[in-house]
Each structure stands twice: as structure tokens, then as C-alpha cells.
């Protein structure tokens, strides 16, 4: 009699396991949206458009079909998570404001890596319509597509440390944050050159002064944030040393061959900008660089980072770009 009981318990247990285990697996799979990551050439994110109600948690199960990718949301503090082939990465997001969020890949996975983007649309009642201020380059009416070559360049790399000794000769107007953002180093140099106060200075001294003024508008924190952003997002094309020779640079500068007709709009034809070239860089103002960063394009393969970086991040990145032109070691 007892043996029969044991047999019954065993049968019931095995039956429960046979039904329960697949059921739990099915239940887990139904919890959340599975997103497959592929290289941009073979499809990018699938699905790439998601909709969620405001305040609702969004469970995502991420996996990769080819190489290591990473998932992050633009302009948010959400840390990036790795998406690896053969593994499921689970993320739960709660987006508190209605609107469109861009999610993107943060690990370079091919030359078209930056095209790996998708949209999360958060629906809900907009409580107060936010006044969006257009970026500075639009307010100033800058033509970021135009050629800009510096008429004057320094003979040697300007040094902020050397420039610091002339700091008393600078009028306060040149030292404001606003002046920094809206003027190029060449414009500042020309303005300082025409000032009667700086007449006794040599041309190189004025350049050193420009470097000092630029440095005084940049904090060390900005430089380190900018450096991190640069290494993660820019150096694959613009190169670790900023000289436009990153590992993808040669792919971007494909010579015009017979397969010209195959080329699609927006495909890259121009080498990445060389940040160590003073002719090209010293003639650009921070607002100008920010425009290029936000909108991209310019007939090159430059991605648009507008939906990805916050405004502070763009200024930090631009601050770091100046370190390719100016010696900006810390003042003692």
C-alpha cells in the first residue's frame, strides 16, 4: 500500500515537471520583447521601433546574431549593456517622459556601426510642452557645410602655459563663455592682434594667449569626459591621435571607381577630418563644431550625434578636440 503511494507521488511529480518546466520557459519568454542585434549591413536592430506607455516598465531581452554589440539609450544615464551572441541580456526600462528616445549600439561593429539605431516611442499626455531651443549653430546661422580654411595659423603649437603670462592684456569680453562658444580661435587671434594693448606681442605670443583663453573655458572634468566620449565614439574613424587615420578611415575614402552607380546616398566618400590640422580646425568655432557633431553629414560619413549626446556631452567632446590644437597642461 505504501509503495503504491510512493509510486503515485513520483508519477505526479514527473507529470508536474513535464508540464511545469516548459510552461515556466514559455512564461519567461513572454515576459518582454526579444530584440535581435545584427550589424547595420544585415539589419541592425529587430524590431527597431518600440512603443510603450509613459511610466510603464519595458522589459527587453537582447541578444546578438553575429558579433558583440551593446545597447544604450541616447541622452540618458542608463548604463550601456553588452549584447553578446548566444546570450540573453535582460533590461528593464522605465521612461518617465513622453517622447521619442533613440536606442543605439555603443560597440563599433562595422564601419556602419552608428547606423544601428532604433526608436522607443513613449506615449502619454505631455503635461507641459517643452520649449526646445535650437542649437547654437542654427541661432548663429552658421553654414556647417561650407569650406572654412584658416588664413593664419600658428608657427608652432600654441601653449596655454606660455600664454598665461600675458593674461592681463586680455579684455574681459574675450574671456566670456559666450565668446568662446561663438568664435573661432582665428577670429579671436585677429581680434587680439588688432587690440592696441597686445601690439608689443609677437604673433606666436598672441596664439599662446588664444590657447590660454580657450583653456580657461574648459574644465579638466570636461576634458576627461570628452576624452572618454572621443575614444568610444570618434577614434575608430578620426584616429586615436586625432589625425583622421582611424581603422575605418581607409574604408571611408574609397576611390571613385566604376561601381559609382552602386553608391547610395550618404555613403562615405571623404576621409575623416584631421583634428591636428590647424588650417581646418582653428577656423571653426565651438558652435560650428557642435553643429557638425549634432547634424553630421557635410557630404562625409559623419554620423549625427544629436539624439545620442546631451548638450553637456557635446561641449565636453569639443573641449577635448581643442587639445589636439593647443597644449593645455594644467596650470600650476
Amino acid at each position: 500500500m505504501r509503495k503504491e503511494w510512493i509510486a503515485r507521488v513520483i508519477v505526479i511529480f514527473l507529470l508536474a515537471a513535464a508540464i511545469g518546466i516548459p510552461a515556466v520557459g514559455w512564461w519567461k519568454r513572454s515576459q518582454g520583447i526579444v530584440i535581435h542585434a545584427r550589424m547595420a549591413e544585415t539589419g541592425g536592430w529587430t524590431p527597431e521601433n518600440l512603443t510603450v506607455a509613459v511610466g510603464q516598465p519595458l522589459h527587453l531581452r537582447l541578444t546578438s546574431d553575429d558579433v558583440t554589440h551593446s545597447f544604450a539609450i541616447g541622452q540618458s544615464d542608463q548604463p550601456a549593456v553588452e549584447v553578446k551572441p548566444g546570450e540573453m541580456t535582460e533590461v528593464t526600462l522605465t521612461l518617465d517622459h513622453p517622447g521619442k528616445y533613440t536606442f543605439y549600439c555603443t560597440r563599433w561593429c562595422s564601419v556602419n556601426h552608428w547606423r544601428m539605431r532604433g526608436i522607443i516611442e513613449v506615449t502619454g499626455q505631455q503635461t507641459t510642452p517643452e520649449a526646445v531651443e535650437p542649437p547654437l549653430y542654427i541661432l548663429l546661422g552658421l553654414d556647417i557645410d561650407g569650406d572654412h580654411d584658416a588664413e593664419v595659423v600658428p608657427a608652432q603649437m600654441p601653449s596655454a602655459l606660455r600664454g598665461a603670462q600675458f593674461q592681463n592684456m586680455v579684455a574681459a569680453v574675450y574671456r566670456s563663455r559666450e565668446y568662446y562658444q561663438t568664435h573661432s580661435p582665428v577670429e579671436l587671434w585677429q581680434a587680439l592682434r588688432s587690440e592696441p594693448a597686445s601690439q608689443p606681442l609677437a604673433d606666436q605670443d598672441v596664439w599662446d594667449l588664444v590657447a590660454w583663453i580657450w583653456q580657461s573655458n574648459i574644465t579638466p572634468q570636461e576634458l576627461s569626459v570628452g576624452q572618454q566620449l572621443y575614444t568610444a565614439n570618434c577614434s575608430a574613424c578620426h584616429g586615436e591621435t586625432g589625425s583622421g587615420n582611424g581603422v575605418f578611415a581607409d574604408l571611408l575614402a574609397q576611390p571613385d571607381t566604376e561601381n559609382h552607380s552602386v553608391r547610395q546616398t550618404g555613403q562615405m566618400t571623404i576621409r575623416p577630418a584631421d583634428f591636428t590640422d590647424p588650417v581646418h580646425i582653428l577656423s571653426a568655432s565651438p558652435a560650428h563644431l557642435q553643429g557638425k557633431l549634432l547634424r553630421g553629414g557635410m557630404g562625409t560619413g559623419m554620423p549625427y550625434w544629436g539624439p545620442i549626446f546631451t548638450e553637456d556631452q557635446t561641449w565636453a567632446l569639443i573641449a577635448y578636440l581643442w587639445s589636439f590644437q593647443f597644449e593645455m597642461e594644467k596650470l600650476p
Binding site: 558579433v67 553578446k84 548566444g86 561593429c109 575608430a236 574613424c237
Partner: protein, 153 residues
């Protein structure tokens, strides 16, 4: 005539002498490489699915710095027999410094899944002469000789 007798005697003692020879091969350290340990830097480009250069030759005791640059997707490098690993994203050169303390020939492999042929992304690190291989070949030769001798008997 004298020659033949000498040979006969040699054959008589050959099995024990072969065994002695085998022990000598196993335990005698190979002539140490006279090279002075130096600092070496290798720049390795990793692309799908190969390393360039794929073979690195160094001397035991060298202080080796590997600079790994990935040119398409994220790649890694780990050396069998050395407990080392490094990962490189495109645009971010990764560096790895170690002292080649173990002699021999070691494979290094990609550690980050980089596509369908990822398991075949392999390179070789040669630290000095591959003594293990040569000892093995000599021992095999001795074993064959012993076998032949047994058969002839």
C-alpha cells in the same frame, strides 16, 4: 671484421643504452638560449578572422608588449598556457605586457565572438625553441629504433 664485432657488441647493449638515451633526452635541459631578455613590442592587427602578424617569435624571459588593434569588430586575445586576456574595440588600441616565462609554442585565440569563423581566429606565440616538440620527436625515434631491434631479434 673488427667493425662488425663492434657493431654486434653495440647491438647487444642497445636496449639498455636506448633506455639511458631516452632518460637523457627527457631530463637533460636543452642548451639555454644565450639571448639576453629584451623588451619587445608587437603591433597586432586583428580583423575577421585573422591576426596580422599571426606568428610572434620571442626568446624566453623577454618582456613582451602586445598592442592589439581591432579593425572591424570587437576582438580579443588570450594566450594558451599564459593566463592573460585582452579585448580591443575598433579605435581603441589595447595593450598587454607580460614576461615570457614559459618556453615553447603557444596558440593565442580571439576571446570575443566575432562571427561564424571566430573559433578559427588563431595565432602562434613561439617562445624560444620548441624543446618539447624536439624531445618528443627524438623519443619517438628512439622508440622506433627499439621496436626495430626487438623485431630483428
Amino acid at each position: 671484421m673488427k667493425m662488425i664485432r663492434w657493431l654486434q657488441r653495440a647491438v647487444q647493449f642497445s636496449l639498455p643504452s636506448l633506455a639511458v638515451l631516452a632518460l637523457v633526452v627527457i631530463f637533460i635541459p636543452s642548451p639555454a638560449a644565450a639571448a639576453i631578455p629584451t623588451d619587445r613590442t608587437f603591433h597586432i592587427e586583428a580583423r575577421r578572422f585573422e591576426y596580422a602578424p599571426a606568428t610572434l617569435t620571442i626568446n624566453p624571459g623577454d618582456r613582451v608588449t602586445l598592442e592589439l588593434t581591432a579593425t572591424d569588430v570587437v576582438h580579443g586575445l588570450s594566450i594558451d598556457g599564459y593566463n592573460l586576456e585582452v579585448t580591443a574595440d575598433p579605435g581603441q588600441t589595447a595593450r598587454l605586457t607580460f614576461v615570457a616565462s614559459r618556453q615553447g609554442s603557444f596558440r593565442f585565440r580571439c576571446t570575443v565572438t566575432c562571427g561564424n569563423m571566430h573559433p578559427f581566429m588563431i595565432g602562434k606565440l613561439e617562445v624560444g625553441r620548441n624543446t618539447l616538440l624536439w624531445k618528443g620527436i627524438t623519443l619517438l625515434g628512439l622508440a622506433l629504433a627499439a621496436g626495430m631491434w626487438r623485431l630483428r631479434k
